[in-house]
Subunit: 157 residues, 4 copies
């Protein structure tokens, strides 16, 4: 129990770094198999017509579903995105964007997830995009990310 | 001819604003039905393991394919993303990320595009993701983006 | 009202011909925006391991979602599939296969649908696949199918 | 060498049974990482407007890509479809339908494939659909298909 809570707390912090820090992603709730995030909309996140950029919404479904999968993975595993498909139902122009993701099928190696994007203005909440995603759960020692490498690249710049 | 060139020049500038300015997207070449963009990788674009965030790559395929479609659309049309699917073949950890997109099937209302993501380090260029995308070409007067609205939102903040 | 009922009755019959007759597809219920179909499983519908062929399930989601879209289209329109994506969650080995589809976002030209595949044995009903689909609603006079052509081809054989 | 040839010959035969026998699928060529199949079009494979049913084309991309993956899998493995996405570019009304598939990224557990559908009439060959597919390569002893079960079901009928 307490371990679970610690794990969720860890994931909540792990979820915001690098790109997700840049876009202002905030985890708002999570439980095993579910994850919810929000972003406050601003001009720097918009595309050429002023709507939220489709890539921003893709980032939200990817990340939120990834962390929904994380909640069901062993602690020494990492989650990598295999693929996803997203349908944009309506352009997003609300004050906040919310993404709700859940694991449709858990698995040791493969997890299939769903995610929905809502545009929120005041009390109005509109479904604007829907995605199905395939995630891979991979032992951490097989994921050698280039953290150090990136740091050194930037020092050089 | 000259008109075409002017159009491509317009699209090259139009492609970088808001979210794509934030992530440092640069158009590198374009011709009717094709568009190529690049990003210099940095830590603020990475996910939790230091790789380029899957959402960043999705943003690149979305935007680059969208502008490939733009090159074939009437001047008074706007391009909106209907949907896409992206498969991640390898984690991206190069110095630069390149996206190459082309229109597989042009159409008055619907354009189907393909896009590929390459990780580039020195002379090494590695195919890391592939996407198929469906774009809608929409008369500009039917796309009322919230540019003003966003500006006023931010002034309030 | 009565017109609606007549329309649904027409669609129920229209849905079973050619390929869907070959695979034994049966519409089991429908209402505006929804369509449900069933197939009795048999060896001739199986793949190499004896499970229902993934292509059979794709046919069911395609057709069932297409007719869900049909229920919301003008009477003189035809529905053509733009694209879809399907995730297979579990191999299907039940006695019956059921597909439930609904329109997620209606539209004059584009309709986005969802569909689910269930494997049914006795009272056990298992979610085995899930799809998101994009359908085009097209004026009937722009869809010139090759019915006559096919008939003549077969006479020649 | 000879073993490879035997393996390909086995796959060529294995590819036609059950559902693929019903639809008249014929393997026409194969080599490691590639598979090509054909179907002669007929009315019983058509949808309501006389075109090849979208589900038939999905079956072809699924099966052809699956066997392209099979050519790279260990002999004691089976291939199961994880998911795919297919875009329909043009309705298919040719005499023959050809599907060409290749493995984009081989892997021990996951293989990503591409497949294209061509409509063929005389010497005319038209690209009509394109798909990206994710396949799982699974040890054969973990795939317990219901072959016997199906046989007994049918005896009962």
């Amino acid at each position: 129990m307490r371990a679970d809570k610690r794990r969720l707390e860890f994931l909540k912090q792990d979820a915001v770094q690098g790109f997700t820090e840049l876009i202002g992603l905030k985890p708002v709730s999570m439980k095993p198999g579910r994850f919810v995030t929000r972003i406050k909309m601003s001009r720097r996140l918009a595309q050429q017509d002023g709507f939220a950029h489709a890539g921003l919404l893709a980032t939200m479904v990817d990340h939120t579903a990834g962390y929904a999968a994380f909640t069901l993975a062993p602690e020494d595993h990492r989650i990598l995105t295999v693929e996803y498909k997203i349908n944009y139902l309506k352009p997003v122009s609300g004050e906040f964007i919310e993404c709700r993701a859940n694991v449709l099928k858990p698995g040791r190696q493969i997890m299939v997830c769903e995610a929905e994007i809502f545009s929120i203005t005041g009390r109005k909440k509109l479904l604007c995009a829907k995605a199905i995603l395939t995630m891979a759960s991979v032992p951490g020692d097989r994921v050698k990310g280039p953290k150090m490498h990136l740091r050194s690249l930037e020092t050089r710049v």
